[in-house]
Amino acid sequence: VVVLRSVPRPSGEAAFPADAALVRAARAGDAGAAEALVRRHARALNGLALRLLGRDGDVDDVVQDAFASAFAGLGRLQDPQAFSAWLSGILVRLVGKVIRRRRMLARLGLGRALLDIDLDALVAPTVPQDDALELRRLYGLARRLPADVRVPLLLQRVEGLGLDEIARLMGASLATVKRRIAQAEAALRESFLRGEGR
């Protein structure tokens, strides 16, 4: 017979506390709150990383870095309820770094395969045909684009975000985001005219 005794916790805690409460508790060193934040946001963050990177290989690294950076900078988060958006911004900027690093290595003739996107793995056979076609076209082009153009394109076309939100996530001005998306659109048109992704 094993007798388990547990440490009392303050009562009156909501069953599903808001992010703000968890952030405040995590800042104070509450392990349960940190765990809850990771578990609550892990799926969304893994999804965002996968969709921006286009391959599963680097997802774990980027997600772990994003959480580690977020916890390290928790003291700088002004609005604790905005944890999710703040965390997403950290991840988006990390993804940009990863893509830039991959492209640089590829230019040096190293790790060219890291730029590849396995479209069959990414776009499941169950995806409706029109959406699958669109995704293949987008990712077919995205793998050739620089990070500064690729990330806003995918945030807009795949995540369905507005320009303001993209600018906030990327830490860029609205004008910059508009210019980069226009660049991406032009590349998309060219790729379509060449018959790619069809």
Binding site: V1, V2, V3, L4, R5, S6, V7, P8, R9, S11, E13, A26, R27, A28, G29, D30, A31, G32, A33, A34, E35, V38, R39, A42, R43, A44, N46, G47, A49, L50, R51, D56, V59, D60, V63, Q64, D65, A68, S69, F71, A72, G73, L74, G75, R76, A85, S88, L122, V123, A124, P125, T126, V127, D131, A132, L135, R157, V158, E159, G160
Partner: protein
């Protein structure tokens, strides 16, 4: 950030199961302990708070990191041949069957969460105001407030998971790939038993490829070669789906159903699992005269892939399955759910006419 229901991103979801999440948590802890030089330069103070938080987090999960008795979350009990009884501080008891394996995920005054990994366990939970007791097993969560119930993992032809309530009431909820509650499956009262379908049969028992069955019509051109490695053990979701489709095209509904079943059970985080469960439901309903089995598979499909394109059809067929099984209460629930979600749905008239007295 989750993609909207209309964005393309909804089609691309990560395969994130509990094991991968645990690995990520461990790595986050390691990275928080060893911040990079640039990060360290300006975030040392804040990082130290986070490191403490993450270390404490791990202390909850890793019993080796715990210096003294207290919350024993993370502890795993493997019962010897004679079984084992675990008694919690509040008097709740877990009686493990011989050779069973149980892990304490969370032990707090307001929440006890245990995971049954092997065998069976009798749980006798002492009621306390505001306290929750949750058992997790094979992708389901059984949540109680003061009761006695048994959870059992089956093998071979036995149900993969069986829950039997001796006293009180429990709610069974299917968990998503990330371990979060996703869909309520059943509420069980005292005396009631609920179980899932048997675990997919071991490889040799799986149906042969359609090509190997003498009475088959010719193999459709799209069927991939099966060869001697036609056993489903370790077979990819893509191959299982291809074989299932081939079996169905070859007018072998039972073989197709078993392959769809194997796919959804063995590759639950794969994008094809929801479709496989849906197709299994259709086969059981339309071809195998098994409306209860169809209802189970369709419920599973909705849980695995809640935003799939076939959702409306699955909900409509669920009504049909419950009607055919003469389960009027569930039929009415499913009917109400369909009509609420799809007031102008293409199956509206058909669904509204179901669930007769």
């Amino acid at each position: 950030m989750t993609p909207s229901e209309t964005s393309l991103g909804r089609h691309i979801e990560p395969a994130l199961d509990e094991a991968r999440l645990e690995r990520q948590i461990a790595a986050i802890e390691a990275r928080a302990r060893r911040p990079s030089a640039s990060r360290r330069a300006f975030t040392l103070a804040a990082a130290s708070v986070a490191v403490v938080a993450i270390m404490l987090l791990r202390a909850h999960l890793d019993p080796r990191a715990r210096p003294e008795p207290g919350p024993l979350a993370g502890t795993t009990f493997e019962a010897p041949a004679g079984g084992e009884t675990i008694t919690l501080g509040d008097g709740s008891r877990a009686v493990l069957e011989p050779q069973s394996k149980l892990t304490l995920l969370t032990v707090r005054p307001e929440l006890v969460r245990v995971a049954l990994e092997r065998g069976g366990v009798d749980l006798d939970v002492v009621h306390a105001e505001g306290k929750q007791f949750v058992a997790v097993a094979r992708g389901y969560e059984i949540r109680v407030l003061g009761t006695r119930f048994r959870v059992r993992l089956g093998e071979g032809g036995a149900p993969a998971l069986e829950v039997k309530v001796a006293r009180g009431r429990v709610r069974v909820t299917r968990l998503g790939a990330d371990g979060a509650p996703e869909t309520d499956v059943r509420v069980l009262d005292a005396g009631e038993t609920w179980s899932t379908a048997p675990e997919a049969a071991p490889a040799p028992e799986l149906p042969p490829t359609p090509a190997a069955v003498p009475e088959l019509s010719p193999m459709p051109a799209a069927v991939p070669p099966a060869g001697p490695a036609a056993s489903a053990s370790g077979e990819s979701a893509r191959d299982l789906l291809a074989r299932a489709e081939a079996a169905r095209a070859a007018n072998q509904p039972r073989a197709a159903a078993r392959l769809f079943d194997a796919l959804r059970l063995r590759h639950r985080s794969d994008a094809r699992a929801g479709l496989a469960a849906f197709e299994l439901g259709r086969l059981r309903l339309d071809r195998l005269d098994d409306p209860r089995g169809a209802a189970e598979a369709l419920t599973d499909a909705l849980a695995i892939a809640p935003r799939a394109p076939f959702r409306e059809d699955a909900q409509a067929r669920l009504v049909e399955a419950y009607a055919a099984a003469r389960e009027r209460g569930r039929c009415l629930d499913a009917q109400a759910a369909y009509l609420a979600r799809y007031p102008q749905g293409v199956n509206r008239a058909k669904v509204a006419a179901r669930c007769p007295e």
